[in-house]
């Protein structure tokens, strides 16, 4: 299991609507992904990889939006949560790595 040192972890209340189930409110703890990464440019791409090999490629432009993409932790298990994704289809669970792709590097 990978460990990510999250700065200023806080609680977020989210509405989650799994397929075929009623919408419900949940609490998660984490921080904005751009604050975790720190040095991030609009043209960067951020490749997040889950334990099962699944990949989520985000644009720097989207990650830099305020209150938009979170990295959250529960009992040592990390996940990427786009805040506006009510159906949670974009959530990446069991995060193992984050790679920044920058043009020219």
């Amino acid at each position: 299991m990978s460990e990510f040192k999250l700065p200023e972890k806080q609680q977020y209340s989210l509405l989650k609507r799994a397929q075929g189930k009623a919408e419900r409110q949940i609490e998660v703890y984490g921080c904005e992904l751009n604050k975790y990464i720190g040095d991030l440019h609009e043209d960067d791409q951020i490749l997040c990889v889950g334990e099962d090999g699944m990949q989520l490629l985000l644009s720097g432009r989207e990650v830099l939006l305020p209150n938009h993409i979170l990295i959250c932790e529960t009992a040592g298990d990390y996940q990427i949560i786009p805040l506006k994704d009510h159906s949670s289809s974009r959530w990446l669970k069991h995060l193992v790595s984050i790679e920044i792709r920058r043009k020219g590097l």
Binding site: Q19, Q45, D52, M54, L56, L57, L58, S59, E62, H86
Partner: protein, 257 residues
């Protein structure tokens, strides 16, 4: 044993299938407007392989049900130019299962991808068997593990299609181009499939694809994985109902290849 899907029966369609609504739907008889056996998504792979001497481009519009397309066709001149028929989605009608059926050419009872959590497709896919250069263009995330890596494309804030369509444009020199377009499904989930926003998104796609593909020769397929039904001003799918289960399969041949 035969059972009937309630949603289908209500709207005048009856699909008899083996057993309960579970692993496998093998339709025996369909009563409705079409009066013929419906194509299934797992039949696409064989069709693509049988035309492999031609260049083929697959436009896979996630979440586009048969009725959703039919109701918007008068406003979508490019999609109207396809020779389109009604097909049956996979069971359950969700992206992972349907995509696995399209790529592997077998149904869920064989590939065993029956939920969003199951993602490892351990069978030979169209990309492994196609006798030419293939490219698989995805949105921002991998849907299934396949031997052929998908080219991922991050969304631009809320729009997932611009980057996918740009990637398609730069890969049009391949022999088999498989493009998974997600934005319409996202809009349907958010606003419902009958919403003005969903119709506008389809009209936008119609115009954009028409522009981008005007000079492309070969066979262009228009397919989808599942439809959606409205629920409390949102859209959802995964049920055994006509809105979710019926999808279009369209083909347009641009001559002078």
């Amino acid at each position: 044993m035969s059972a009937k899907g309630d949603g289908m029966e209500k709207s005048g369609w009856i699909i008899y299938h083996d057993g309960e609504i579970s692993d496998q739907i093998k339709e025996k008889e369909i009563i409705g407007d079409i009066g013929q056996k419906l194509l299934r998504l797992d039949e696409l792979k064989g069709m693509w392989l049988s035309y492999s001497e031609k260049k083929q481009l697959v436009l896979y519009i996630d979440g586009l049900g048969w009725h959703q397309l039919k109701e918007s066709l008068s406003q979508c001149p490019y999609f109207s130019s396809f020779n389109t028929t009604c097909a049956l989605s996979s069971w359950p009608p969700i992206t992972n299962t349907a995509l696995a059926s399209m790529l592997s050419g077998v149904d869920a009872s064989v590939h065993q991808i029956k939920s969003h959590a199951e993602r490892s497709l351990k069978l030979s896919t169209i990309f492994d068997e196609y006798p030419g250069r293939c490219v698989y263009i995805e949105g921002e995330r991998t849907i299934l593990h396949t031997q052929q890596s998908a080219l991922l494309n991050p969304r631009d804030e809320n729009d997932s299609d611009q980057a996918v369509l740009s990637c398609m444009q730069t890969n049009l020199d391949h022999d088999f181009i498989f493009v998974h377009i997600h934005g319409y499904d996202d809009v349907c989930h958010h606003y419902s499939p009958q919403s003005r926003q969903a119709i506008d998104k389809l009209i936008w796609l119609d115009g954009r694809l028409s522009q981008l593909l005007s000079d492309v020769k070969g066979m262009i397929w228009l397919i989808s994985d599942h439809g959606q039904h409205a629920n409390e001003n949102k859209g959802e799918h995964g049920s055994f109902c006509e809105a979710d289960m019926l999808v279009p399969i369209g083909l347009r041949v641009n001559e002078n290849e």
